[in-house]
């Protein structure tokens, strides 16, 4: 790993100032960034740790919305959201392994936008709002493709705000070696709509399966999507699964998610 300057500010303002350095990067839980640095795929001059900022940790619920601060780790979400938003808590509780969940954060996951990350599927299905130090961005506008987001240089995800659904479920079909989803589907049922967020499947990263959302909004049952097909054209194809296989998984997992809600 190339060396860098390590700084650990105690406020968002200090972190933003420290990130003005040209090759500075934020460091949250580091569970993706540190392995990347080890492979010399990344060479920051300075890493700005966000974990010393008390304002960036914790979750709260009010007015039917759950706000999870950016540097809140997965284990905390799994434990503290369990009663009010069990679908999201279950998603957080299955990311990686217990040690990873004690370090990795929601802000890091969302900002990295790995095409197989779990949180973006929930953010899309729930039409969450990504809050940064400068603005608020709708999930639909935030995720721009594999590892690409609407974030500007030096912009920090300070929180993610989820409208809490009436019922939700995350179906993760694990790639057994990495435990990332080979394909994962988050289903969220609201009074007036249904959200279906898909991760791990598309070359364009996380997406909403809108055809299924419409069908499920009028008939929330696995039968509602039985006549639909997911096009395989833009799906990821690799040694773990072909594009057709992933397209098939999207439909199967959506059905299972609906049945489990």
């Amino acid at each position: 790993m190339y060396n860098f300057e390590f700084v650990k500010p105690s406020s968002v303002d200090e972190a933003v100032a420290a990130l003005k350095d040209e090759d500075a990067q934020p460091l949250s839980g580091g569970q993706t960034l540190i392995p990347t640095l080890k492979q010399r795929l990344n060479q920051p001059s300075r890493l700005v740790s966000l974990l010393g900022i008390a304002d960036l940790v914790g979750l709260s619920e009010s007015g039917g919305e759950m706000t999870i601060k950016g540097a809140t780790n997965h284990a905390t979400v799994a434990a503290e959201a369990a009663s009010s938003f069990p679908g999201l808590a279950a998603l957080a509780g299955k990311i990686g392994d217990p040690a990873v969940r004690n370090r990795g954060t929601i802000g890091g996951s969302i900002a990295n936008n790995d095409p197989s990350a779990c949180y973006p599927a929930a953010a899309m299905a729930c039409q969450a709002t990504i809050v940064t130090n400068t603005r608020e961005i709708a999930a639909d506008d935030f995720f721009e493709g594999m590892f690409a987001t609407a974030l500007d240089e030096g912009e920090i995800v300070t929180a993610v705000r989820f409208p809490v659904p009436e019922a939700s479920n995350y179906q993760k079909f694990e790639q057994p070696a990495s435990r990332f989803p080979l394909t994962g589907v988050f289903v969220a049922k609201y009074a007036d709509r249904v959200g279906v967020g898909v991760t791990g499947a598309s070359n364009d990263g996380v997406f909403r399966w809108k055809e299924a959302e419409e069908a499920l909004a009028s008939n929330f049952s696995p039968d509602a999507i039985s006549g639909l097909t997911v096009p395989a054209d833009d799906m990821i194809s690799d040694l773990h699964g072909s594009a057709e296989y992933r397209a098939h998984l999207v439909k199967v997992l959506t059905g299972r998610g609906v049945a489990a809600c």
């Binding site: 650990k8 580091g30 890493l47 740790s49 217990p98 040690a99 004690n102």
Partner: protein
């Protein structure tokens, strides 16, 4: 930079660069070589330690991130008189290791599990060990050791 943390109950300091991993700091700066580095890619869990009571992979955390924290390593697990603690003794009794390389991480992961869940089921134990890889035992005896350490009966496990 100078980094100071409490390790196994004692305040310890050493020099670290920004890139110094907690695993390297423990092993090379503090001489605590019980924390093993198996893969150095966050896959195997041999480097598992507790930071402020929570299990983490010491190879996937910078030493500087542990400034001011309370770290427990495998060297801090034995009883005060030097005898093996309950989990370690159970690993010996149930032959939960062969080469022993993964064992420090397994013991740290097991102790973290039993703190959160004193009577885990076999399934819960196996799930908790997702991030700890053993290439010798096939895991059955590790699972039995953890069942025994939690004071539960040790049933014959599946596929045995």
């Amino acid at each position: 930079m100078k980094v100071t943390m409490t390790v196994n109950g004692k305040s310890m300091s050493g020099e670290a660069e920004g890139r110094t991993l907690l695993s390297s700091f423990l092993r090379e700066e503090l001489g605590l070589t019980g924390t093993h580095v198996g893969c150095d890619t966050s896959q195997c869990g041999a480097c598992t330690v507790h930071v402020d009571g929570r299990q983490v992979k010491a190879c996937t955390m910078f030493a500087a991130e542990a400034e001011g924290t309370d770290v427990t390593t495998i060297e801090g697990m034995a009883n005060a008189d030097g005898s093996l603690n309950t989990i370690q003794q159970a690993f010996q009794d149930y032959h939960g290791l062969q080469c022993g390389f993964c064992t420090p991480g397994m013991v740290m992961a097991a102790s973290s599990l039993l703190e959160q869940n004193p009577k885990p089921s076999e399934t819960e134990i196996r799930e908790h060990l997702h991030g700890n890889i053993c290439r010798c035992t096939g895991y059955h005896n590790i699972v039995k050791a953890i069942m025994a350490a939690s004071g539960q009966d040790v049933p014959a496990v599946a596929a045995e």
